[in-house]
């Protein structure tokens, strides 16, 4: 069976190398035994990156950007709905990392910590935008207004998905984006969102169930066997 045990968020580590970006249609997390040599390398690289950033080395920040900048910007764009706000959020995240790196104690991986800052920065920006627009709607139901981006294979599907994502709860949207779009593992997402790995899996399940209901055309009641 898959890993069902609770995983403390601080144990979650992110590999510094981007994993296969292919479509995730089946579980990709079958852990067995101790950490692999690649995972150990990733840990030491993460620690080295944190140390270099702590020393104020701008090249270390550039390395962090080279490894995660694209993913960070894409995540921010999907949360905020437009590339301008997304770039501002990513830049703010780098500045916050620089300001707070002295207080980083290594309880999570450096990259996990960075993404946690990014996610919080995105939601701060959303709240700020809401206040500016004096919109009284609940933050969790606020729908980002997507701006045009590079055309994909299924622009209609993408737009429908963006609209549906805006109707999910914050956690469901975050987990879906981090897992299905950005390709993070549940253990990594648990570290970023400060939840358990099991909660991440369950939240993804709920998110996909809700999305399916929103995106699929209504079926006949007799078809549902559950």
């Amino acid at each position: 069976m898959g890993t069902m045990g609770l995983a403390l968020p601080w144990k979650a580590r992110i590999s510094s190398t981007l994993r296969e970006r292919g479509t995730r249609v089946q579980p990709s997390e079958q852990f067995a035994g101790g950490p692999s040599p690649a995972a150990v390398d990733a840990l030491s690289e993460d620690a080295a990156l944190a140390t270099a950033c702590r020393s104020g080395d701008l090249r270390a920040y550039e390395r962090l950007y080279a490894m995660h900048g694209g993913r960070m910007k894409n995540l921010a764009r999907n949360v905020l709905g437009n590339p301008i706000d997304a770039e501002d959020a990513v830049q703010d995240t780098f500045l916050k990392v620089q300001r707070s790196i002295a207080s980083f104690r290594g309880q999570s991986s450096f990259v996990t910590w960075t993404y946690r800052i990014l996610i919080n920065t995105c939601y701060d920006a959303r709240r700020s935008r809401l206040r500016k627009k004096e919109v009284a709607n609940d933050d969790s139901v606020e729908t980002p207004r997507p701006e045009p981006r590079a055309p994909g294979a299924h622009p209609t599907l993408r737009m429908a998905l963006e609209r549906a994502l805006g109707k999910l709860t914050r956690h469901q949207r975050d987990v879906f984006l981090l897992y299905e779009v950005e390709g993070f593992r549940h253990a990594e997402i648990a570290g970023m969102l400060e939840m358990t790995e099991t909660a991440s899996k369950n939240t993804l399940f709920q998110a996909k169930k809700n999305l399916r209901q929103m995106l699929e055309p209504p079926r006949s009641g007799a078809a549902d066997t559950r």
Binding site: R21, V25, L58, G152, A153, L161, E180, V181, K208
Partner: protein
């Protein structure tokens, strides 16, 4: 591995590869599960539409510039803080306690000096003579020396040839006093402001003067 329609959600949530394979095998004979599997997978396919990791060439330079400016501002702030770098890095709570203790100490000190003001003359070092006092002592010594010289001239004949045991004793006493005066003068010469020496010297002069006067009385 056998799975049924009721296992579907559990496998969607946290199924292993083997369970997924079993569910797909089950789907070949169950149209409803086949449709659910297709719909579930299509969400992952659709998610790929939201993935755009393309880089903007101007974005990193912008971040780099912001980081460099922030680092420069931090360096400036650190420069200002270095004025106080001699202080240990206490927590704010301890800083408050220390500041309070310092204020209390200052208050106690001020109160003490207010209630016990220093008395100028008493605090001076009496063992040293001021220049004015020194001049007075030296003039007194000179006066004694002149008086003693006159008396010594008058008593010289009796003392050089004492006719009585009393005069012989006076003679001995005067020799001792001369010796003591010579010693004190030598010491006072090395440390003229030493009040004790000067007063002892004056006392010796006074004693010699009295002794010479007694010699004159004895002669009469």
């Amino acid at each position: 591995m056998n799975v049924t329609c009721s296992d579907r959600d559990r496998i969607f949530e946290d199924g292993t590869l083997a369970e997924w394979a079993a569910l797909e095998a089950h789907g070949t004979s169950c149209p409803l599960c086949a449709e659910e599997i297709r719909a579930w997978k299509s969400l992952s396919v659709a998610a790929a539409e939201l993935r755009d990791h393309s880089d903007s060439p101007s974005f990193w330079p912008r971040i780099e510039r912001a980081l460099a400016e922030e680092a420069a501002r931090n360096a400036q702030r650190a420069g200002r803080k270095s004025w106080f770098s001699f202080l240990p890095n206490f927590s704010p709570a301890w800083r408050t306690v220390l500041a309070g203790a310092f204020v209390l100490l200052l208050t106690i000190s001020a109160s003490w000096f207010y209630l016990h003001p220093p008395k100028g003359p008493e605090t001076e070092d009496k063992s040293l003579l001021k220049s004015s006092a020194l001049r007075e002592v030296e003039s007194a010594e000179s006066a004694y020396e002149r008086a003693i010289d006159k008396l010594a001239a008058e008593t010289k004949p009796q003392l050089e040839n004492p006719s009585t045991p009393l005069l012989a004793n006076y003679h001995e006493k005067l020799l001792l006093l001369d010796s003591a005066i010579a010693d004190l003068r030598a010491q006072a010469g090395m440390n003229p402001s030493n009040a004790q020496l000067r007063y002892q010297l004056l006392a010796m002069y006074q004693e010699k003067q009295h002794t010479l006067e007694e010699v004159l009385e004895a002669r009469r």
